[in-house]
C-alpha cells in the first residue's frame, strides 16, 4: 500500500483483498448495465410521440440540487473512510450518517421530480422517450435507495462491533458502491439533463 501508515484494515486479510477486487468486477458489470440503459435512452430520446420532450420537462434548479447533494455525499463518505483508517469511530460514523442523509435528500428530490413529470403528462407509457428516461433514472434511483438500506446496515454493524477487519472491509466496499453511483449520476447529469436542455 502506498498510504502513509501501513496496510489499512480493510485490506488486512487475503479474503478482504479478494472481496474488494471482486466488488470492482461487479462495478465493471454495473458499468455495462448502465451503458445499455444510456444506449437505449440515446436511441429513444427524440421519439416523444404526443408527450413532452426532455427540453420541456427538465428543470435546472432541481438538477443543481441533486448534483450538489450527491457530489457532497460522495465527499463525506470519502472522509468517513479516511476517519475509519485513522481509527476515529465517532467521526467516521458522523460522516456516514451525513452521507446517508444527503442520499435520502437526493432520492426525495428525485421522487418530487418524477411526481412533477407525471403532472406534466409524462408517465412510463407516454412515449419511447419517457420509457427510456424513467428506466435509466429509476435504475439509478433504485441503486441509491438500496444503498441507503445497505448503509444503515453498515452503520449498525460499526456501532455494534467497532472497526474490525471484517466491518472495515464491508465499509470500504460500501464506499466504492456509493462513489460509483455518483459517477453514474455525473453521466446522467451531463448527457441526459444538460444535453436535453442545451
Amino acid at each position: 500500500m502506498t498510504t502513509e501508515h501501513s496496510t489499512p484494515m480493510e485490506y488486512s486479510t487475503e479474503t478482504n483483498a479478494l472481496n474488494i477486487i471482486g466488488f470492482w468486477v461487479f462495478i465493471g458489470a454495473e458499468i455495462a448495465l448502465f451503458a445499455t440503459l444510456f444506449a437505449a435512452y440515446f436511441i429513444m430520446e427524440g421519439r416523444i410521440a404526443d408527450g413532452p420532450s426532455g427540453g420541456h420537462l427538465f428543470v435546472i434548479s432541481t438538477l443543481m440540487i441533486q448534483t450538489f447533494v450527491l457530489l457532497t455525499s460522495s465527499f463525506t463518505i470519502g472522509l468517513g473512510v479516511n476517519a475509519m483508517r485513522l481509527g476515529r469511530k465517532g467521526a467516521a460514523l458522523t460522516f456516514f450518517i451525513i452521507t446517508l442523509v444527503l442520499g435520502a435528500g437526493f432520492v426525495g428530490v428525485e421522487i418530487y421530480e418524477f411526481y412533477e413529470y407525471v403532472h406534466e403528462g409524462l408517465n412510463l407509457q407516454t412515449s419511447a422517450f419517457s420509457a427510456a428516461l424513467f428506466t435509466l433514472l429509476g435504475t439509478h434511483g433504485a441503486h441509491v435507495s438500496f444503498g441507503l438500506f445497505w448503509g444503515i446496515g453498515i452503520i449498525i454493524q460499526i456501532v455494534k462491533y467497532g472497526f474490525t477487519p471484517r466491518t472495515a472491509n464491508k465499509t470500504f466496499i460500501f464506499s466504492l458502491y456509493w462513489h460509483f453511483l455518483d459517477v453514474v449520476w455525473i453521466f446522467i447529469f451531463s448527457f441526459v439533463y444538460l444535453k436535453g436542455m442545451m
Binding site: 458499468i31 444506449a39 440515446f42 485513522l86 459517477v183 455525473i186 444538460l194 444535453k195
Partner: protein, 93 residues
Amino acid sequence: MRELFPANQVIGFVASLALTVIALLVYFLDMSFTVGMVVLLLTAFTQAGLQLVVFMHAGESPDSDSIYLNTYYGIFIALAIVFGSLLAMVWGY
C-alpha cells in the same frame, strides 16, 4: 480535526464542484450543440476519473493493475455498447 479532512480529498471535492460549474455553463451560456457536447464529454470523463482515483483509491493497493484493467474493460464495453448502438440505430450506417 485537520487529519479528518485530508488535502487530496478536499481538493478533489473542490475540483468536482468546479467541473460541475463548467458543465453547467453549457446551459447558462449560449453555445452551439457541438461545443456543448465537447465540454460535457471533457467534464464528465474528468469527473469520473477524479472519483476513481481520489475517492475510490483505485491506484493505492497492490492489485491496482487488476482494478484499472477491469475498469478500462468496463469502459470499453460501455463505449462499444453506446456508440455501436448510436451507429446502427441513430446515425444510420
